[in-house]
């Protein structure tokens, strides 16, 4: 019977495909290498992990540049990386709520390093433990780097001295960075800052800048701006004679541009946009932590002098 022939050919094909899939699935997995497997949640802590670990670690980036770490939905590759990781480095401060369930789902035995431990937090939004953008203050970054170095040393004692040495060196570099930025911003005539969202609280507090307001009045980029809020911000910008509205690299600049236009001030966007939430992709002006901090500082200085 013709229908039976069609039936059996379809079923045979499907069974073969399923069997092939299962054969692939249950086949041998890749052999592991000798590097310490590390997974890092944000671009910033991934940068720290690479610097501290050098060639002795293999760092897997979970959240890529431009992706909001709050909404992260791990892919199979991400979960495999978590499963194989010995150390997972996170920013903390409630930024990675998905991490716990993801580690369980992956069956991971990794040690999780909360790099925000010991850092004094600024207040965050409702329901948040604090403002998570701690890395924008290089002094906080120093603590984060030290935490990473210690965790690598514990996980891989054979190379403990190397990790600690790298960590200490980088802490020195960060101290120099801190002095450099402080010097540049101290002489700034106008210290009034309006950015796309509240990412620069720690930066402003460290260097004495005055955050007038943000286009999105929250540390959380998914909050929405009300019409009343927009009017209020424009009025403040005009009243305080703010010179520029700074857009951010991974957020759409339309709102910032619109507010700047309404207030009659310029908008700093495009290649000059600040790096608020994450580092930039490889090859951009903010690809590493050091580059990012220098870029932000230069853009602010250039537009507020």
């Amino acid at each position: 019977m013709s229908s039976a022939r069609a039936h059996s050919s379809v079923m045979a094909t499907l069974t073969t495909v399923v069997a092939a899939c299962l054969a692939v699935a249950c086949g041998p997995s890749r052999t592991s290498s000798t590097e310490l497997p590390v997974a890092a949640t944000t671009t910033e802590v991934a940068d720290f992990a690479r610097i501290v670990g050098g060639a002795k670690v293999r760092v897997y980036d979970l959240v890529r540049p431009g992706i909001d770490p709050h909404d992260f939905d791990p892919s199979p590759a991400d979960l495999e990386a978590l499963r194989r990781a010995a150390v997972v480095v996170e920013n903390g401060v409630g930024l990675e709520r998905w991490l716990g369930p993801a580690l369980d789902a992956a069956g991971s035995h990794a040690v999780v390093v909360d790099t925000s431990a010991g850092i004094t937090l600024r207040p965050g939004g409702p329901g948040e433990p604090g403002d998570p953008h701690i890395w924008h203050d290089p002094r906080n970054a120093q603590r984060m780097v030290t935490a990473v170095a210690e965790s690598f040393a514990l996980a891989d004692p054979a190379h403990a001295s190397s990790y600690r040495a790298n960590g200490a060196t980088y802490v020195e570099v960060l101290r120099a960075l801190d002095d450099d930025i402080a010097g540049r911003l101290a002489t700034l005539a106008d210290k009034r800052l309006v950015t796309n969202h509240d990412a620069f609280g720690y930066y402003a507090a460290r260097y004495g800048l005055d955050v007038i307001g943000s286009v999105i009045p929250s540390a959380d980029t998914s909050a929405e701006l009300s019409a009343a809020g927009t009017i209020r911000l424009v009025r403040q910008i005009k009243a305080q004679h703010v010179r520029a509205v700074f857009a951010e690299s991974d957020l759409p600049p339309k709102m910032a541009a619109a507010i700047a236009r309404q207030a009659g001030v310029k908008v700093v966007e495009g290649a000059d946009a600040l790096y608020g939430d994450s580092l930039g992709p490889t090859g951009s002006a903010g690809a590493t932590y050091l580059q990012m901090m220098r870029h932000n500082t230069e853009v602010i200085v250039a537009n507020l002098s």
Partner: protein, 282 residues
């Protein structure tokens, strides 16, 4: 691949969903009720969203919304009246919009919206599997116990009523089965793609089988097979190829592909070649 808990859970989930969706789908297709499945996906969504906003169990929200829809649609599926399709469409899209409005009141909603509509197969935990399994067991008992009555009703509703069965009650049972599939599939593949799981395997089976019994076996096979293949493909694409393919969408793509292959195969097979004995199916 299946060393990690998330893949083991995902595999069990697609098997559970595949079995009950494949089986129930045969009855849905026999009675040309694909629109009921589609309607459910529009009403279960706001139920889930409201439960989410009220910090209640999403499973419960889906269950309640599905049950209400099943009851509400039973009048319509038993005796279709002309002209009600427009008002039904308006009602369903309005309910769906209500769901979107409620979910967007949350501060961070796009991830949740995606989860409700398309599921998060890789985030299924042991507790989810227990709930899914419980609903599936009840559904299977009903499907086994009521099989011949459901088929008879589909074939001859007047004769079934004449024999003493309440056709409206049988219709309610089938609608509740569809709701059960929606609830079970919610976290695995989401409400929108659950419709595909209900309809496509059964439609495929209809193309290549001539008996209800073999249609059920084939439909289950296609649904579970597509689930496994889709899961494996999306895993390999991510781990080996670095390409992110949403698992639920991959499964549905495999289903559609299987349907197309079956359609072509049955078209080829039905070309009049040798004259068969009289009375058999061409």
């Amino acid at each position: 691949m299946f060393a990690a808990p998330y893949m083991q859970h995902a595999l069990i989930a697609v098997v559970i969903v595949g079995v009950i969706a494949g089986w129930t789908g045969v009855h849905v297709v026999l009675r040309h009720l694909a629109f009921v499945a589609d309607a459910m996906s529009h009403t279960v969504f706001p139920g889930v969203v409201i439960a989410f906003a009220a910090h209640q169990s999403l499973f419960l929200g889906a269950l309640v919304a599905g049950a209400i829809t099943a009851v509400g649609l039973t009048g319509l599926t038993s005796r279709p009246r002309i002209g009600e399709d427009a008002s039904l469409a308006i009602l369903l899209t309005t309910l769906f919009a209500v769901g979107v409005v409620v979910v967007s009141r949350q501060r961070r909603y796009s991830a949740d919206l995606t989860t409700f509509l398309f599921g998060r197969l890789l985030a299924i935990g042991a507790r989810d599997l227990w709930l899914m399994g419980a609903v599936a067991v009840v559904a299977i008992v009903v499907l086994v116990g009521g099989h011949k009555e459901l088929v008879m009703r589909a074939f001859d509703p007047n004769g079934t009523e004449a024999m003493g069965y309440r056709v409206t009650r049988l219709d309610l049972v089938l609608n509740l089965l569809v709701a059960a599939v929606m609830v079970t599939a919610l976290k695995a593949i989401g409400t929108t793609l659950a419709v595909a799981m209900l309809v496509t395997p059964a439609a495929t089976a209809r193309l290549v089988t001539r008996r209800v019994g073999t249609a059920v076996v084939t439909s289950i096979g296609v649904a579970v097979g597509a689930g496994i293949v889709g899961l494996v493909i999306s895993y390999e694409a991510s781990v080996r190829g670095g390409v992110r393919l949403t698992t639920s969408a991959t499964i549905v793509s495999v289903l559609t592909l299987t349907f197309v292959v079956a359609a072509i195969a049955s078209r080829i097979a039905s070309r009049p070649a040798v004259a068969m004995s009289g009375g058999s199916d061409r």
